[in-house]
């Protein structure tokens, strides 16, 4: 079986790719996509630890279910926010969302 360190390395690579997207995308939907990538990498780590460290209770997989729940709620609210912003200022770019600037 593939050792745990390879799964963790894969999780690290995908997480860093998602972080790069969050830092550099202008499109707010692109930022949400990158956040989903980061959450996927985190649940990969949780599942890997659940398989390798302790298999009797499967706590890591249960945590991963909660991560998916929060990710689904976050995507729904985030996309609703983006749609509401698009209605008011006709743009989806994060650097255009500056109505709170003083």
């Amino acid at each position: 079986m593939t050792p745990l360190s390879q799964y963790l390395a894969l999780g690290a690579v995908i997480f860093v790719i998602g972080l790069f997207g969050v830092l550099t995308r202008r499109n707010a939907i692109g930022i949400l996509i990158s956040i989903e990538i980061m959450l996927g990498a985190v649940s990969l780590n949780l599942v890997a630890f659940s398989r390798f460290v302790e298999t009797t209770t499967l706590n890591g997989q249960v945590f991963s279910v909660f991560v998916m729940t929060v990710a689904a709620g976050e995507a729904a609210v985030g996309l609703a926010l983006i749609l509401a912003l698009y209605k008011s200022i006709k743009a989806v770019f994060a650097d255009k969302f500056n109505m709170l600037k003083w």
């Binding site: 963790l8 860093v16 996927g40 609703a80």
Partner: protein
């Protein structure tokens, strides 16, 4: 029936990992946001393959159902409701590309070095035969408070999304 024996060749992990990384890079760097959403769906397919290798078959199916079936479809709806897809000539990245890339590279080097140096345990025991039963029992016994909080969170997200999405007709 043990699925991990069917896929236990390390080649399967390498191919799935390569596909996941390639599609993740595509989801982050492609210019057209619609292609980004499709690449995200492909990345989640590869990631659920990795979950199968880790004997988490229930989670692999749930991952495809929730992410590919719900989240990506929601994102595609948001994309076609907001973005003019043909207008890909707009600048898609901000000014932080070079410092962001350096920061991410530094973080990646740090994470990989920690992963390489630390001594990780070898697989503990065999895989669970009936992971669905254990997950269900855990959700309703040990983690029942978190389960209830998650259901309240989903209800709040539902109400909030409907409230934010409806037409504001006042003023």
């Amino acid at each position: 029936m043990n699925w991990s024996q069917l896929f236990s060749a390390p080649l399967a992990f390498k191919m799935l990992a390569l596909a996941a990384v390639v599609f993740a890079v595509g989801a982050v760097t492609l210019r057209n946001v619609f292609h980004c959403a499709l690449s995200l769906a492909a990345m989640f397919f590869a990631l659920s393959g990795v979950f199968v290798l880790l004997d988490a078959d229930f989670l692999a199916v749930v991952q495809i159902l929730i992410y590919v079936g719900a989240v990506v479809v929601l994102m595609i709806f948001a994309i076609v409701l907001t973005e003019r897809i043909t207008s890909t000539s707009v600048k898609q990245v901000n000014d932080l590309v070079v410092p962001g890339f350096l920061l991410c590279l530094a973080l990646l080097v740090g994470l990989i070095s920690v992963v390489r140096v630390a001594s990780w345990p070898s697989p503990a025991g065999g895989p669970q035969a009936d992971s669905i039963k254990i997950i269900g029992r855990q959700l309703l016994s040990t983690h029942v408070e978190a389960f209830e909080v998650a259901s309240v969170l989903l209800l709040a997200a539902l109400v909030g999304a409907v409230f934010l999405g409806k037409e504001i007709t006042k003023k």
